[in-house]
């Protein structure tokens, strides 16, 4: 339990979670019977909450050109999540057409078998993603999630 407490405090110190979220997690840690010293790990709720809290919240796109042009875009990843959930309402024939067209472009992605768990995994793995483009003329493009 001590490790879990340290993990929560570490996330708070690094600014990945707010004081309120840390408080909720610590409460969950104390009240959840699974989070006993014998169990040695966080309970289900706290584990899920911790995973959510440490997941990236925003997708950033930053473009800086040598001419002085700048583009900064910050998009909440929850918007991406909510938008992708809406794909389940696309009729099957249209979805098959999307899959076919994407496969033709080299992206074999089956939207018909897209589950909410996959979505969460996709969003949380975006933390590892970072695109850095440095052009010859000095222009830079950065795409990352944080």
């Amino acid at each position: 339990m001590g490790d879990d407490r340290s993990r929560i405090l570490e996330l708070l110190a690094t600014g990945k979670i707010t004081a309120e979220e840390a408080g909720r997690l610590l409460d969950a840690l104390e009240t959840n019977p699974q989070a006993s010293p014998e169990a040695g790990s966080l309970g289900d709720f706290a584990d899920k909450a911790l995973a959510t809290a440490s997941a990236p919240k925003f997708l950033y796109v930053k473009v800086v050109s040598v001419k002085g042009d700048n583009v900064n875009v910050k998009i909440p990843l929850s918007l991406v999540r909510a938008g992708l959930k809406l794909t389940s309402f696309i009729p099957q024939p249209a979805m098959e057409q999307i899959n076919k067209n994407m496969a033709e472009k080299g992206m074999s992605f089956d939207f018909l078998n897209f589950k909410p768990e996959d979505l969460e995994e996709l969003v949380s793995s975006l933390r590892e993603m970072e695109v850095n483009v440095d052009a010859n003329n000095g222009d830079t493009v950065r795409v990352y999630a944080a």
């Binding site: 919240k57 925003f58 050109s65 001419k67 002085g68 042009d69 700048n70 583009v71 900064n72 875009v73 910050k74 998009i75 909440p76 929850s78 918007l79 999540r81 909510a82 938008g83 959930k85 809406l86 309402f89």
Partner: protein, 96 residues
């Protein structure tokens, strides 16, 4: 599900001098939005009922709720564009 955005701000400036600034309190439109969503909800519930009777999978109500959810998730979106080749034009857009 988050509540819908309460404000949208937009700024357009040339050479750092603000030419146009708008802060629109979207929360003023919430009652209108609520009425619209409730009316649409009634329609979608009927549509789902008829879809269910006809033996197909209903989804209109879930779609409506999904759209409302997407609207709520736009909170926090920020766009900043600075174009030096066009008198240093700055366009900034924020949804709160």
């Amino acid at each position: 599900m988050k509540c819908p955005p309460y404000a949208v701000s937009m700024r357009i400036a040339d050479d750092e001098r603000t030419k146009f600034r708008m802060w629109f309190p979207v929360f003023i439109l919430w009652p209108l939005l609520l009425v619209f969503v409730l009316l649409t909800l009634i329609a979608t519930l009927f549509a789902d009922l008829f879809t269910l009777i006809s033996g197909r999978k209903p989804g209109y109500t879930r779609f409506l709720l999904g759209v409302v959810g997407v609207a709520g998730e736009t909170r926090g979106t920020e766009v900043f564009i600075q174009d030096r080749s066009n008198n240093g034009r700055i366009v900034a857009f924020t949804v709160r």
